[in-house]
């Protein structure tokens, strides 16, 4: 079972939920945590994994053999990303813009284009006290996170519980991270920002036709719109974490919630039980 943890708004507590969920389940299930926030991966700060292997992520980009090239311009014409241009008797490539689709090399009438790998990031894996761990790191200055996210997800185990820590937002890196999950936990906070971005995240998971529930973090502010919205939309609230300086301090020191406050473990186990119930119901009902 793959459970992804996403949010819309950043800094709502995705990593807190993902790491504490993994730690709470590790004595009952085989657990794997995949940190797919490859722009700003943080799960390792809390799980302190032993890294046992790594692999660079290469994005295939075109390499033009100018001896064979006749400057016909076919490659520039087929490239949807303006990553290759032919100017007179020169071919210019812009590797940063290339998505690695392979159209230019396949369609070149002179077979003058081959592909070479351009390093976009790295995937590392290992373990942390019974939890299998993997994360990706996008190279600083690189724009495209999805190829690195794809590589992290290739590490996903076929059995047990796989927890995906997703990046914030609602666009391609988020979709790449949560695609293929059985369930998505959307973490938010009860503020107008948290509420606005939760509604965007809900639209995203609905677009993917994925069952989901909400985890509410930093509850304490007198703002009830998120709870009202969830009950109106029939969205289950799986977990409620109060606004607490003690929890914030633990987080600031890189201590996972259930390690600093073990009394929280049962709440996270209940989250998984809740998810299993929702999925069972969904499988039994003929609709959706």
């Amino acid at each position: 079972m793959i459970i992804s943890v996403a949010s819309g708004k950043g800094g709502t507590g995705k990593t807190l939920v993902a790491t504490s969920l993994a730690l709470s389940l590790k004595d009952r299930d085989k657990v794997q945590l995949l940190d797919c926030d490859v722009e700003e991966p943080n799960a390792h700060i809390f799980l302190k994994p032993v890294i046992t292997g790594s692999e660079s992520v290469y994005i295939p980009v075109p390499k033009v053999d100018e001896d064979k090239c006749t400057y016909c311009g076919k490659c520039a014409q087929v490239c949807a990303y303006n990553a290759i241009a032919v100017l007179g008797e020169h071919v210019l490539t812009f590797p940063q813009l290339c998505h690695g689709c392979g159209a230019c090399s396949y369609l070149c009438p002179e077979n003058a284009i081959t592909e070479e790998g351009r390093k976009g990031g790295i995937v590392e894996w290992g373990h942390s006290g019974g939890i299998d761990f993997a994360h990706g790191k996008l190279n600083v200055g690189e724009a495209m996170a999805p190829p690195v996210i794809k590589k992290v997800k290739e590490q996903a185990s076929n059995n047990g519980v796989v927890i995906v820590d997703a990046p914030p937002g609602t666009s391609c890196p988020v979709v790449e991270s949560i695609k293929g999950s059985d369930f998505c936990i959307l973490v938010t906070e009860p503020t107008p920002f948290g509420f606005n971005d939760l509604m965007l995240a809900v639209e995203t998971v609905r677009e993917l036709n994925m069952p989901f529930g909400v985890a509410l973090n930093r509850v304490g502010v007198r703002y009830k719109d998120v709870e009202k919205y969830c009950s109106g939309e029939n969205i289950p609230i799986l977990l409620t974490i109060p606004l607490s300086t003690e929890i914030a301090r633990l987080y600031s020191k890189g201590v996972a919630l259930v390690e600093g406050m073990p009394q929280w473990e049962s709440s996270f186990i209940e989250v998984l039980d809740g998810i299993r119930e929702i999925l069972d119901e969904r499988n039994c009902s003929p609709q959706r």
Binding site: G10, G11, T12, A143, P168, S171, P192, E203
Partner: protein, 290 residues
């Protein structure tokens, strides 16, 4: 004209609250919300939309089932595994058009996507350019570039001398699109190990693109030891600390009330944000102060 962009690496450190306050403090400026994935600045600036425009960008492949001979070539060649059972999954499709070029039956066409919308608005603090990326859409970087371009055009046309942009979290495509060519970046961080880690990466991006950066430690008193760590990391890299904003519930209260914190309160958060804006505007060569 000068452009300052507020970034953070880690999400939720307080970018939008700070930009909302700068909107009150800065004179003669255009505001731009470059977090097109999850835009929030409008929630505290309450804009009246003057213009809205559709944002068309990128293509999705569509297979005409009547022409398709089910030869399977598109499925075999698509690098994004977007074709299954001779149907294109629009969420996986990256719009490269490879399939349309190679289909022997010419059964595949590329359809342009409505990827979002952008707005030019008025607020009581000045004009705001903002946008909304369509759900699960790509090309957020292009929409960010469009927002910045529109903000620049507006500033030039109407004689504003400064653009203040609220950037997205992370270090990838929309961040690079928000940052490249800006005059100054303010990096808002928090005194957590995650904040420290993520600040280093976004500082690296600023260095990579040659944009000078200053740092704001938000909620610095949440963990003063970590705050000192951030200060010493910055010092060793020659990065100036523009401000140290204390933790105060008044910030969340102001968001709930839908107003910038400097308008909501005149407490210690407001004093520090005012001081910080003075530092930044002096650096930008904009000596005007409230």
């Amino acid at each position: 004209m000068k452009e300052i962009v507020v970034l953070s690496g880690k999400g939720g450190t307080g970018k939008t609250s700070i930009v909302g306050s700068f909107a009150v403090l800065a004179k003669n400026k255009v505001l731009a919300d470059c977090d097109v994935d999850a835009a929030d600045l409008h929630l505290i600036l309450n804009p009246a939309v003057r213009e809205n425009h559709e944002f068309w960008s990128g293509d999705t492949a569509v297979i005409d089932g009547k022409l398709c001979t089910q030869c399977g070539l598109c499925q075999e060649l698509c690098r994004f595994s977007a074709v299954k059972d001779y149907i294109v999954d629009p969420i996986s499709c990256e719009g490269c058009g490879f399939c349309a070029h190679i289909c022997p039956a010419e059964a595949i066409t590329m359809k342009e996507n409505l990827s979002g919308e952008w707005f030019s608005s008025n607020t009581k603090y000045g004009p705001l350019v903002h946008a909304r990326l369509g759900i699960a859409q790509e090309n957020s970087g292009k929409l960010v570039a469009l927002v910045r371009q529109q903000a620049r055009q507006l500033a030039e046309k109407e004689g504003f001398d400064c653009i203040i942009s609220d950037g997205p979290p992370g270090i990838g495509c929309p961040v690079i699109s928000s940052l490249s060519g800006a005059n100054l970046a303010l990096l808002v961080t928090e005194p957590t190990l995650s904040g420290i880690h993520d600040l280093e990466r976004v500082l690296g991006v600023c260095r990579h693109f040659g944009v000078p950066a200053l740092v704001c430690i938000n909620k610095y008193d949440l963990n003063e030891e970590n705050a000192r760590q951030i200060e010493s990391n910055c010092l060793s890299q020659g990065v100036e600390i523009a401000g140290r904003v204390p933790f105060d519930n008044v910030v969340t209260e102001s968001i709930v009330q839908g107003v910038p914190v400097v308008e909501y309160s005149d407490g210690r958060v407001t004093k520090e944000v005012e001081r910080m804006w003075h530092t930044l505007s002096t650096m930008l060569g904009n000596h005007e102060k409230r």
